[in-house]
């Protein structure tokens, strides 16, 4: 068989983008990965102990049946919305600035989703019986909606991510000659024989556009369904139509803030200053300002309705948040998610990556607290029982260790990924998709990618 010619788009930053992948695995990598593995190991040990002894090793009790694990579940699924938001929603709206950061954001989706799913498994009293969900699944239960939506979301994200990675894997296959042979075979297998033919790029763009619509629908569905696990019960404050939109907004908010953190780390660690200019952070800053204000709106809409309505069982939960057991968390959350970040964004954030990262870290801490403050107070004052039993909840070291290991796992996957694959999409940020050697018969026809604008323009 004749060896087919391979073409790649021409990207002026190719050197810079491929640089992090080139050096062999060194002591610095091993130190980082080893450290993360140790943290994960502690979490695994804690989980094994929990598996053997039972969920009693957590701080959960009656009536607080759900605790940190479910908070983590909601948080990780929320974090996962970053990638889809940036690569799908911004793709549909034609925001060009998304291109260099699309893959970094999607990778965040991909590597946080599994830990959301894991959180559910960790929370189950009988993880060994998980197959019962398939064998005896009842679609009336919101948990089945969750199961379907999250599985489909994870699966679709993998495909969406992989497809956009395809031309770059092929480029790695052809350009990285000094890497170990196993790594080259990995690129060869994963590239699926990609040749960079204009027709291939053309079809890829079409599929990506189509999938972006589907992914946008999925992203809205997934986080709304996650919130319905709470909203479909008749427990006070949970049972509200606002819980879905509020969860969704929070998800995109924390996800976008997480992208800021990830971009800043990548930029610093892999010397991508030219590829990821400050301008990108300024674009994200505008988005984050909108989301902060949206968050304030939701917050006021929810709590003013509660307060004005003055329904006794809802007021129990309301005061738990504002002045009760969760008041410190509630106010820290308000400052971390809204007050401080919005001030930073408005007065300090422009052209300052350090301030942007500060605000984004605060937002993510705050959003985790928000999930906690939405879920737990209601459980401590459930309907009827708020008069009879007043619950309280203190997480144990097991729960914290497992939480830490989930975050460590996410960082580990992310850092390994960035050492083997280009974290900035080479083909999407290329000046032109015109291959190095032109196709004579294709020249006059041209294709959409050829009229691409320059990066960072």
């Amino acid at each position: 068989m004749r060896q087919a010619q391979v073409y790649h788009p021409d990207n002026q930053y190719e050197e810079a983008i491929l640089d992090p992948i080139k050096p062999p695995i060194n002591a610095r990598d091993l130190l980082l990965w080893g450290g993360l593995l140790v943290v994960m190991g502690i979490g695994v040990a804690a989980y094994v102990r929990q598996f053997i002894l039972g969920l009693g090793v957590t701080g959960m009790n009656r009536p607080v049946y759900w605790g940190v694990y479910i908070t983590n579940f909601v948080f990780f699924i929320g974090l996962a919305h970053s990638g889809t938001f940036i690569s799908a929603i911004l793709r549909l709206s034609g925001a060009e600035f998304r291109k260099p950061l699309a893959r970094a954001a999607e990778a965040l989706t991909l590597f946080s989703l599994p830990f959301g799913v894991a959180s559910i498994m960790i929370d189950m009293g009988r993880p060994d019986r998980v197959m019962n969900v398939i064998l005896y699944g009842r679609f009336e239960s919101p948990l089945l909606w969750d199961f379907t939506a999250v599985s489909l979301y994870l699966f679709s994200s993998v495909v969406f991510f992989y497809l956009s990675l395809l031309p770059d894997i092929a480029l790695c296959r052809d350009r990285l000659e000094d890497v170990p042979s196993w790594q080259r075979s990995m690129y060869r297998i994963l590239a699926l024989g990609w040749k960079g033919h204009p027709e291939q790029f053309h079809r890829l763009e079409r599929v990506m556009d189509g999938m972006a619509i589907f992914m946008t629908m999925l992203v809205v569905t997934v986080h709304t369904v996650v919130s319905w696990v709470f909203g479909m019960t008749i427990q006070p404050v949970w049972h509200s139509a606002l819980i879905g939109p509020f969860f969704l907004l929070g998800a995109i908010f924390s996800g976008t803030a997480a992208v800021v953190i990830v971009l800043a780390i990548l930029r610093k660690a892999y010397h991508l200053e030219d590829v990821l200019p400050v301008g990108l952070f300024n674009s994200l800053r505008k988005l984050l300002i909108v989301f902060s204000l949206g968050w304030l709106y939701m917050m006021i809409a929810e709590h003013l309705t509660l307060y004005y309505g003055n329904i006794p069982e809802e007021m129990e939960v309301f005061w738990q948040r504002f002045t009760g057991d969760f008041s410190i968390m509630f106010w820290v959350m308000t400052f971390a998610v809204f007050v401080v970040p919005i001030l930073i964004f408005i007065f300090r954030g422009k052209n300052s990556i350090a301030w942007m990262v500060t605000a984004s870290v605060l937002i993510n801490i705050g959003m985790w607290l928000e999930r906690y403050v939405v879920i737990i107070p209601t459980e401590t004052r459930p309907r009827l029982l708020y008069e009879l039993v007043q619950g309280s909840y203190t997480p144990t070291w097991t729960e914290w260790a497992i939480t830490a290991s989930l975050f460590a796992g996410m960082f580990l996957l992310y850092s390994i990924f960035t050492r083997f694959f280009p974290v900035v999409p080479l083909w999407e940020t290329a000046e032109t998709l015109e291959p190095e050697t032109a196709f004579p018969e294709k020249r006059q026809r041209g294709f959409r990618g050829a009229r691409r604008r320059r990066l960072g323009g």
């Binding site: 189950m124 009988r126 969900v133 064998l135 479909m232 009879l388």
Partner: protein, 239 residues
């Protein structure tokens, strides 16, 4: 087909907690240590709650109020709706049952139940030395499910079943004696043991049964009627 229902007369209840204890022995509910109990992990299918009383008059009268609470066996139970695997279900006679063999321990039902009648096995159930040899040997005969007084594995949810095994036993006895099963053959342990005879049990669909007559009392009320769960446990107000 009977529709089993319970009436609890709070005026007669002396809060002796006999129902709670009888239930524990009848249904082999695991015992937890005082530390665990302080965390709110004690398992009492039939819990007795002191009611908060407010105001000077309540303090002056020094009258404590109590509420004993079995499962409400709702006609429209929120717990069944949310169970992803059908481990909890309502049988033909309206009893909300729990199959320990299928439960995956997600605790959605415990969160969804507005009455807090569902309990989770945080650890492997255990009994003190000596007690473990005197557990109730009764079992619910059936499809290999674990129900009622069967010893629960850790990590599953359990709840009041109106002593479903007693129902099965009563039917079997009537059969052995060669007679028709009568509704009075079946009584849950809490009703049988109640010191003040404050509890009544029977068929709600039978207009002549004690429960359906008492349900017409002006003192009759249901817990959280506004939640739309249609409980089959009916309380009678004090006084």
């Amino acid at each position: 087909m009977a529709k089993w229902s319970m009436v609890i007369d709070l005026d007669k209840c002396v809060a002796c907690q006999g129902c709670s204890i009888a239930c524990r022995f009848e249904n082999n509910t695991p015992v937890v240590s005082p530390e665990e109990a302080a965390l709110g992990r004690s398992i009492l299918w039939n819990e007795v709650f002191p009611l908060r009383s407010e105001g000077e008059a309540a303090i002056a009268s020094a009258q404590a109020k109590f509420l004993t609470r079995p499962c409400m066996h709702c006609e429209d139970p929120p717990c069944i709706k949310v169970c992803p695997v059908g481990a909890t279900y309502k049988d033909d006679e309206g009893i909300v049952r729990q199959n320990y063999a299928r439960c995956i321990g997600c605790r959605f039902c415990t969160v969804a139940c507005p009455y807090g009648v569902r309990y989770f096995n945080w650890y492997e159930p255990s009994w003190e030395e000596g007690m473990d040899t005197h557990l109730n040997p009764d079992r619910v005969a059936g499809r290999g499910d674990l129900e009622g007084p069967a010893i629960r594995p850790k990590g599953v949810v359990e709840k009041c079943t109106f002593c479903i095994h007693r129902h099965h036993k009563a039917i079997a006895r009537a059969e052995a004696e060669g007679r028709e099963f009568r509704n009075s053959d079946y009584t849950p342990a809490c009703v049988q043991t109640c010191t003040a005879k404050a509890r009544f049990f029977g068929d709600f669909d039978d207009p002549n049964s004690t429960v359906s007559r008492l349900s017409q009392s002006r003192r009759a009320f249901r817990l959280l009627d506004e939640a739309g769960t249609s409980p089959k446990v009916i309380y009678l107000h004090e006084g």
